[in-house]
Subunit: 541 residues, 2 copies
């Protein structure tokens, strides 16, 4: 009855001798202790260690500081305190079970251990340059951390580097062998990301995802050093973005008047993300994937003719009011989102409805168009120009490039399907920056822990020269929401997106991957992320 166990184990013990599997059901993956995810560029961990007493521990920001730094220090101190309290609670629980007394922690015990270097009481945080206000593409995320002889220094030129360093520091901290204290080994880290765009797309149209859950997801992203929350906020099925200029869009187009994101909600998401060094990239997909817009504004969409009469198709590219509407709406959106980029979609435009509409065919004749791709090109061109006027930069799904729309320099092409290696080579040969998502579709399920296929995907794995490779900005894991909602979305994202996160951050990972991911999963669990088990049988304690 457990046929699939074969696959799970074959996969789990891929590095073991094969014969072991035949008589043995395969090992339970044993989590590492104090390993960092994603793997830093350079890390040395000694076997000497310090002990942390949370009540006598502090971060000390010696140079520049700002709200992001202050809040970050509070957050990471809190994580230590919570973990320590958890250990204490477990101890009391276990003592009750075995009817033993709980003794006071005797911190003097450590002096007998020749690997003990002292208590870590201060982590000095040196932010060498003033804080930047909001995260952006290409921000400096590099940092150095050293703990030597119980003296710890975290250093970066950039607040974003400090945030990444705080995360790494927090991951080095584990429970001491007495299971009562926090321990950190002497260590040295020099770290920076491999790619500057490391994203997670969340679709909030196919199912509504509550604000609190989005914040949980942002936490999980920070724990995996992902730095772009690509908010695919509206689509065919619902329009939950509550616009000031066009409140009817969500009033009529959301699943329910209460299942919306108000301007305050959106601002809260942006601020929560900013505090964690995460960009919030809005997507308003056009001209397809817009059925929900048509509930309140049917005039924006194409009225199909026979045999589709009565249906509405993609936006009507021949209607000048459409562009006026989009400029108004997108102006509001670009004002609300500090993000430099705007994702304008452009994928999966079906031509059947346009073909069936006489007015559109007349328009094409006048324009001398012979293909519907030309009509699409005209539409996208105008939207790209709007985004340009609004001083934003465009990101488009690959179809826009493939349909030969002329794209302004710097427009990013987002690859999601087909012969992606060939496509990545073409796009970069044309000098356009590119993002990869094709291999990171979190809604694609297969039996068992399938993070490995996400882990094995490399955005630079296509034929091209160094200049072409330099145009790869990174990639995004995509959580399309057809079959996820608040009941299962966090579980489905983590730790699977964390696998993509390491591929995007780490130059040279591949060490103890499953054991580190097991630890990372349990660590996320302790921090309130319902990450599902990655590696087959096992447990977090």
């Amino acid at each position: 009855m457990r046929l699939h166990a074969v696959f799970v184990f074959l996969f789990a013990i891929i590095s073991c001798e094969c014969w072991a599997y035949i008589v043995d059901p395969g090992p339970t993956v044993i989590a590492t202790k104090g390993a960092v995810w994603p793997q830093p560029k350079k890390i040395t961990i000694e076997n000497t260690f310090s002990i942390i007493r949370p009540q006598r521990f502090e971060f000390s920001a010696k140079r520049n500081t700002c709200d992001i730094l202050n809040e970050g220090l509070i957050r990471y101190k809190e994580l230590l305190v919570t973990e320590w309290q958890r250990l204490r609670k477990n101890e009391i629980k276990n003592a009750r079970r075995s009817r033993e007394r709980v003794n006071r922690i005797n911190y003097n015990q450590w002096n007998d251990d020749d690997k003990f270097t002292g208590f870590l009481e201060v982590v000095t945080v040196n932010l060498n340059k003033p804080c930047e206000d909001s995260p952006y593409l290409g921000m400096d995320e590099s940092y150095k951390f050293s703990l030597n002889n119980s003296e710890a220094i975290l250093e970066s030129d950039s607040i974003w580097g400090i945030l990444r360093g705080l995360e790494s520091f927090s991951q080095l901290v584990t429970s001491a062998p007495d299971s009562r204290s926090l321990q950190i080994n002497s260590s040295y880290i020099e770290d920076e990301p491999r790619f500057s765009h490391r994203g997670l797309l969340l679709d909030t149209s196919r199912h509504f995802i509550p604000l609190a859950t989005i914040k949980t997801i942002l936490n999980g992203m920070a724990y995996s050093k992902l730095n772009v929350f690509h908010w695919h906020i509206v689509d065919d099925h619902s329009f939950p973005y509550e616009s000031i200029k066009f409140p009817e869009l969500s009033a009529q187009g959301a699943f329910h008047p209460t299942l919306v994101y108000t301007q305050n909600d959106v601002s809260a998401v942006i601020e929560y993300a900013r505090m964690r060094g995460i960009r919030v990239l809005p997507e308003f997909d056009t001209p397809g994937h817009t059925r929900s817009w048509g509930v309140s504004h049917p005039e924006l969409l194409t009225k199909c003719g026979a045999p589709y009469a009565g249906l509405l198709g993609p936006m009507d590219p021949t209607n000048e009011n459409v562009y006026k509407f989009l400029k108004d709406l997108f102006g509001e959106v670009t004002d609300l989102f500090p993000e430099q980029f705007f994702h304008l979609g452009g994928d999966e435009v079906g031509f059947e409805c346009w073909k069936s509409n006489q007015q559109i065919n007349d328009y094409m004749k006048v324009k001398n168009y012979t293909k519907y791709e030309q009509l699409e090109e005209e539409f996208i061109q105008k939207v790209v120009d709007i985004i340009d006027e609004l001083k934003s930069k465009s990101i488009v799904w690959q179809e826009v490039y493939q349909n030969q729309v002329h794209l302004p320099q710097g427009t990013v092409v987002h690859v999601w399907t087909g012969d992606t290696k060939r496509l990545m080579a073409q796009i970069t040969r044309d000098g356009l920056p590119v993002l990869l998502s094709a291999c990171w579709y979190l809604d694609h399920l297969s039996t068992g822990g399938d993070w490995k296929k996400f882990y094995d995907c490399d955005p630079l794995d296509f034929p091209g020269n160094a200049e072409q490779k330099a145009l790869v900005m990174g990639g995004e894991a995509c959580m399309w929401a057809e079959v996820v909602d608040d009941t299962n979305v966090v579980q489905r994202i983590f730790p699977r997106a964390s696998a993509a996160a390491e591929r995007l951050w780490s130059q040279d990972a591949n060490q103890q991957v499953k054991e580190r991911l097991e630890e990372h999963t349990c660590r996320m669990r302790k921090r309130g992320i319902s990450a599902q088990p990655p590696n087959g049988p096992g447990y977090c304690i």
Copy 2:
């Protein structure tokens, strides 16, 4: 980027005209209101209705009664009250949003509605025969329910039928059009299950599932009229069953000393299930899948020789102490579980270790065995005899049958893999009762809402005569736990297991299946089951 949407929608709109899909992203499935899942054998719903005021509503047990009935009535009254309170809360919330006053409910309004027949104040519950103590294979689950002119009667010869009828009654109740009151349409139901064994297997060895979550799962089972909780309690990876006679089995063989089910926990599960008419069927799989037993009792397992030296294999069938041990342990288990059947496993026994052990080969020579299947046969035969002596009946996985072990009359063969139609035909031709699980592996994932493949599976779909078909006791959905734990197990079971549940209960379903399953999912949600979305884009409110 949403390639898989194609499949979701193709599947979601399977009954629509095909061309609609081309320009339309497919409909959001609209849930039914007050439909019963699983579909009753006979149901008529009129368009006249009664209103329920929970504060003036009661069940009245006129004939026999007992603890199961009393608690059942309390539970189902509570569901009504909770649902009504939920409506009131939403109303207050919506009123605040729109800054309107919340008026008192005016129950007189209904008198103007010519479909209104009155208030439903009493459901008379006629249990015609005395309560039975515990559920068992073949128990009577039939019931009749009628609501006519605001007079409701639920009737059955059996407490189990009354429980099923209470569930159906609760599902007929919906919110009234004013969204403030509870409404139930005049209706008539005559119902009984198609199969008497409708199970859910839960593996608590690959991951530990907390007691509270098991209770949640039992609730979900009751809401879908599943009646066997097959507890695959131990396996290779951990031994969480805390035995009185052999406490070392879990003390050493569980993942952690706290991740165990004490005798009290097991009794609590059995009692919770009994109250809901659910049998708890224990499985202790032997001779394979026993690695965790070997942590404290390595002497029970085969010491492998070269090339597997150092490893332990399946139980050692040549060691008489093994049988003594099993008899002691299984005696304790059969005392603890009131269930008539005992699942003794017998699946996936690898012969490599036995082959590599000299003592075992010597034993085989003495016995004149030429195949390792004969050794396995001897082992299973002895275990079946033990179960027989303990006055229990055996269920075995199909390998035991396929390896031609002589099975006492009435031993049930559980089919999980291979050419299942041929196998079901063979087994029933040999006059043995059979259970099907092969098509209901909940750990097998595919992209999108995949309940349809579970729904389409029919246990009677094999070549055979009426006598053979009569030997099909039913089936079980199986939740193997390699990649599920407390974070995702409930979501993965429901509503997918509910699809199997309808196939096992209903003679003639197939009506408005996706719409009813959508409602059933949202209903389970309201009742605290984190059922995941079944049908693609949508929402529960």
